[in-house]
Amino acid sequence: MKRAAILACILLVACTQSAHVARNTGVYLLLDTSGTYRGELRKAEDVILYTLSRLQPADSFAVARIDTGSFSEKDIIAKTTFDERPSVANAQKRVFALKVKDFIARENSAQYTDITGGLLQAVEFLNEKGTGHKTILIFSDLEQDLDKGYVRNFEVPFAGFDVVALNVVKLRQDNYDPRQYLARLEQWKGQVEKAGGHWRVVNDLDRLDGML
């Protein structure tokens, strides 16, 4: 009897612990819709579909655009937390893919590029979801262009986040002076790693295996 009670306690503790340890993944993808990057959105669709194919039941996924003021829920194009049942999760993935296709087909260019606001929104979203692994994908040239009145010179709490910059294209001025491109990458890397995050750059979209 005593042994059975001990065994039950161990099982209960194991179950309780398993309930507390989140093993799911949360992915937040930021899409740059500024004029300089508008033409790259078709590639973004492939990245989104690839991400959808890799995510599992109970994972969370959101796609948001980067525009003049990106720290807003209104910029989220599609978001979902997949059901625990695989069949329902598959149905959700199909709906999600249709939403993204629809957005890419009708999206207009944004005047300004508020990347920091989008990142902060991503951090807020993923923290709220409480996923075990948190990944922010930035599909952008990383050239931030803020409108007047937007304050973004603060540190975003990236601790526990993987930040992956995708398809960071070279701008026209980067060709004249490549140091600008390298400095831009270095600046974002420093900003993320200083706040405790992990920074990566993936420019080859044919090799997305290690992205998530």
């Binding site: 194919s53 109970a58 695989p86």
Partner: protein, 476 residues
Amino acid sequence: MSMNALLSITPWPTLSAILWVVLLIAVLYFARHTAHQAIRTASGALSNALRIASHSVSHAETRLGERNREVLLAAGREAKERIIEREFMRVGETVRKDLANYPHLHRGLSEAIGQIEKDHQDAVEVPPDPPGWVRAVEAVSKLDAKDGGGDVLADMHKSIVKAHKEAMEVYREASTERHELLRAMMPRWRDVQQLLTELDKKAESLLSRTAGVDRHMQEYEQIVKREDKALSVLSSSSLVQFFVSAMVLMVAIGGAAINFTLIARPMAEMVGGTSFIGIFKTSEIAALVIIMVEISMGLFLMESLRITRLFPVIGALPDKLRVRMIWITFTILLLLASIEAGLAYMREVLLQDELATTALLRGSEASIDNGFLWITTAAQMGMGFILPFALVFVAIPLETFIHSLRTVVGLAGIGLMRALALVLRVFGNGFRHLGTLTERLYDLPLFVPLWLESKRVNDRNGSTEVPVEDLREVTP
């Protein structure tokens, strides 16, 4: 103290070194007796401890061997009793079935023999009447023809011929009747022969069974008498059973793994695909539990059928309760098999759904309509339904494996203990010799003072014999 300091006790380092060496040899020489005692004590203590440990392990090995022997004999006795009991039951069944038929057989034989006897009596040939006319014919023939003897003879001749014809006809009829009777006897003879052949076969079957019982009884007697031959046979048989049952169990584990693959994926639809118990997915544990329950039900079914005897409590249940248990376990198995078939179907549906989603996400919406898909679906469902019943039979090799495992573990334990005892003994002797070697090595730098001492003793005794004490000290 550094080497330089040691060599600077005199102005000449060589002299200093010689002084140190002499001093060291002197110290070693004066401490020699104590050092030898210390070495002997240490090596002796280690050697004795290891020898005692070796004896202890040998003793434990002997006890384990005896215990193993007891277990093996008991298991062999029990198995043999079961075989003999079954043989007796078969003999009893044969005797009951055949002897129950014996009165009928006996009556049939008696009737057949009686009928044959009667037919035989009826078929006896009746001898023809003696020729009564002969004397009358002789008397008439002596009469004169004129006295009318010729006419009488002619009439008599006619009458005789007529009587002869009639007699011949009667004789022929009687012969025909006898032949008919003899012909009718043939099937009865055959019946009797057939009955006797059957009887012979049954008797032979009984005899062969009794020969088997005799053989088993002889083996049983050998076991009861605890003969080494019986023990050797049992041990060998147990090892063979262990390996064979282990092989069958491996096959069963393969079957269980396939079963697990069939139901683990659709289980995620029932219990969720993301919850964990410890480091394992709940859906996988649920699938495993279902398989384990199936195996358990199979065990109970086999126990209830008295095919295996892992749980004596089930075997000892009243027949009514046991039969009820058979039906209950079989029903549960049937339900689980049906559930598995459903899950296997669900697996196929999920797989198709996932393939369609993946195709959509890859941008290829057109899907190829596979007309043979139903074959794989049906095959999966069939496997899902059959495998639980196939797993029922795991109980038989499992029982054999468990029973033979005891013997194999015992034999392995004996082997290990024997090896350990040997190693301990070798180390014990090694330490003893190491002590002797250390004493010799200790004496090696002291050869000069020892030689001088020996010379002094010899001079004193006027003899060249080595002192007894020295011999004692270096003798191992």
